[in-house]
């Protein structure tokens, strides 16, 4: 890495940098050698950073006007929408921003799955990323409760009640979470407090995520280790910054489309009805980004079983680097795994779809099939395919791709030579 050679030119810069090497860090970030073949799926890291900052900035402004009280929360949201200058814009950016954040994180995660970015030596990046994802789900869930509409209230009731499935201490834990004997004002208060806290925890983890990334450097679509810096890399600035900026702008156009032209399409209309503990909505559904897990939860007839399976669906991802036995990272060179990857994508989308439907009839069957396949993919398919699969030849370097037609076999190498 080149930052060791960096010395500030000015005397003041040198004085400061000797005491706190911020300028060295800046130089490292600009020079950071990045594979030159990164495709647009790699731009979502930058997009996610933008999403986090957007949520924090809009959220801080919303918190200046929002009132976390069961009797006043709904009215304070309407106050933001009607009386606060551009309050409607700030709130719609924040509420749609959550959806855009999850859209980006799902693309980011599936990109990692396709190109094997979770594999050695990047396991820690992957695990920190999953921790961020878990915190995002917690923050989003609590944020959805804050407007204190019908879905807020009943969503909170359903999710907190999951903990009552824990044997012996379940009910005590649920009461402790609520701060009352049902979802009530104390619950709303603590959810607001935690909703404000979690984004800053995420921010800290994002720093660690990027730090851990900068140790081995980026994976790339070919999935091979590269020398850094070399003719396979480009400096982060201006090459990657401009490319990330372009992708971010395209993303922002879609984002703006939601905010300005269909701001409520991703939410549930019931959440514009004030919370009423005496009236249960016909169908209680979470926000779209939690639906696959909701489908897994409801696919099990037993409550505790459903809860265990739902949490397992997330925690199994933590051991993914050790379930995948293939020595090749990128699915580009894995003809069999690649098929299973797309089946998994379809499976998760299907689970999301049935999660929005009533848990009965064909939907319940689909939810069960989808749940079984989800776990089979990680527990059986990944280890077995990785072991048996005959992978395609992988290139020596990014600059020397495998030639089609087998003209120059010397440019390609077999996996066995690699490790």
């Amino acid at each position: 890495m080149s930052e060791h050679e960096y010395t500030p030119k000015s005397k003041a810069g040198k004085w400061f940098n000797d005491r706190l090497p911020l300028l060295t860090l800046g130089a490292h970030l600009t020079d950071y050698p990045t594979p030159k073949n990164l495709n647009y799926w790699w731009t979502f890291g930058g997009i996610l950073t933008f999403c986090l900052i957007t949520q924090i900035v809009t959220g801080i402004v919303l918190a200046m006007h929002y009132v976390a009280h069961a009797d006043l929360a709904f009215a304070s949201v309407e106050h933001i929408m009607r009386d606060v200058n551009y309050g409607w814009l700030i709130r719609y950016i924040h509420s749609n921003g959550a959806s855009m954040f999850f859209l980006a994180v799902y693309i980011h995660i599936f990109r990692s799955l396709f190109y094997g970015s979770y594999k050695s030596p990047r396991e820690v990046i992957w695990i920190i990323g999953l921790m961020i994802y878990l915190l995002m789900m917690a923050a989003a869930f609590m944020g959805y409760v804050l407007p204190w509409g019908q879905m807020s209230f009943w969503g909170a009731t359903v999710i907190t009640n999951l903990f009552s499935a824990i044997p012996l201490v379940g009910d005590s834990i649920t009461t402790w979470l609520w701060g009352a004997y049902s979802v009530d004002n104390p619950t709303l208060n603590r959810f607001f407090s935690l909703h404000y806290l979690i984004p800053f925890l995420i921010l800290g983890l994002v720093v660690l995520h990027i730090w851990a990334l900068h140790v081995p450097g980026n994976n790339n679509p070919v999935g091979i280790d590269i020398k850094k810096p070399s003719k396979d890399t480009v400096p982060f600035h201006p090459y990657i910054t401009i490319k990330d900026a372009f992708a971010l702008l395209v993303f922002m156009i879609i984002f703006a489309g939601f905010v300005f032209f269909t701001p409520n399409v991703l939410g549930h209309s019931d959440n514009y009805i004030p919370a009423n503990p005496l009236v249960t909505p016909a169908h209680i559904v979470p926000e779209w980004y939690l639906l696959p897990f909701y489908a897994i939860l409801r696919s099990v007839p037993d409550k505790l079983g459903g809860v265990i399976l739902m949490f397992s669906a997330i925690f199994i991802l933590f051991v993914l680097p050790w379930l995948d036995t293939s020595k090749v990272r990128s699915a580009v060179f894995r003809p069999i795994y690649r098929q299973f990857f797309w089946i998994l994508v379809i499976d998760v989308l299907m689970l999301g779809y049935v999660g929005a439907m009533p848990a009965e009839g064909v939907y319940l069957v689909l939810a069960r099939v989808g749940t079984i396949y989800y776990f089979l993919h990680f527990i059986v398919v990944m280890p077995v395919v990785g072991y048996l699969e005959k992978t395609d030849p992988i290139p020596m370097s990014i600059s020397e791709p495998v030639l089609t037609g087998g003209a120059e076999p010397s440019l390609a190498r077999k996996v066995d030579d690699k490790v």
Binding site: K36, N37, A75, E78, H79, M81, R82, W88, L89, Y92, V234, P238, Y239, I242, K243, A245, F246, L249, V250, M252, I253, A256, G257, V259, F260, F261, P263, N264, S269, D270, Y272, I273, A282, V332, P335, R338, Q339, W342, V345, I346, L349, M350, Y353, M357, P358, S399
Partner: protein, 260 residues
Amino acid sequence: MIKSNIKLFVLSFFILVSLRPLQSAEMADPIKVDWSFKGLTGTFDRASLQRGFQVYKEVCASCHSMQYLSYRNLGEPGGPEFSEQEVKAIAASFEIEDGPDSQGEMFTRPGKPSDKFKSPYPNVQAATAANGGAYPPDMSVLVKARKGGANYIYSVLVGYEDPPPGVTLDEGVYYNKYMAGNKIKMPNNLMDGLVEYADGTESTVDQMAKDVTTFLAWAAEPELEERHKTGVKVIIYLVLLTILVYLSMKKIWSRVDSEV
């Protein structure tokens, strides 16, 4: 290979999405109305908003509250845009409870533009008790709070019918084909010629239903016109900036032998 995978993937996704749930037999799909406020540049029909306010005031307001709106909203841009005098007169036509005064007494006074819309009942319980056990919902955000939005509200207003043979209704329950379960506790309050429109428009049931729905759509989303206008500007700005950044990117990346 990847291309065929993507095709398979897209195909399965559409098959999945087309598996729509069977529509409940007890509820008709709302009528699709071509509202002026639909679409990317949609705006409210000013005259319709003013007429809609009249229907709300003379018909709906006797049972339904609209607690998040203020009289001043009626004169703001993007709404019915009544003149300042008209807004003052509308507000003054309501007796608003205020206080306590320096003697500790509550008193009533004529309304001011800054007052919130006066509710017909002091609280939810009173409203429920006075309406046969069914609370007439607050109408401030009603259009956003119902699946189907403005189409649904309009459909319910014109959806009253005699019950089909074999369906018996309790006292105070009415048959409406757009309501879930086809039963509604709100009577059919609209009849031809019920209100006398100031602008001379004929007050048919359909006209009143459209006007009051337009008014409710504005009440739920008073920012709609500004949102649409700002949105168009924002998108144009972003598209232009995207093109500039794209061209810069192409130029910068032309220095290396890699595609971008």
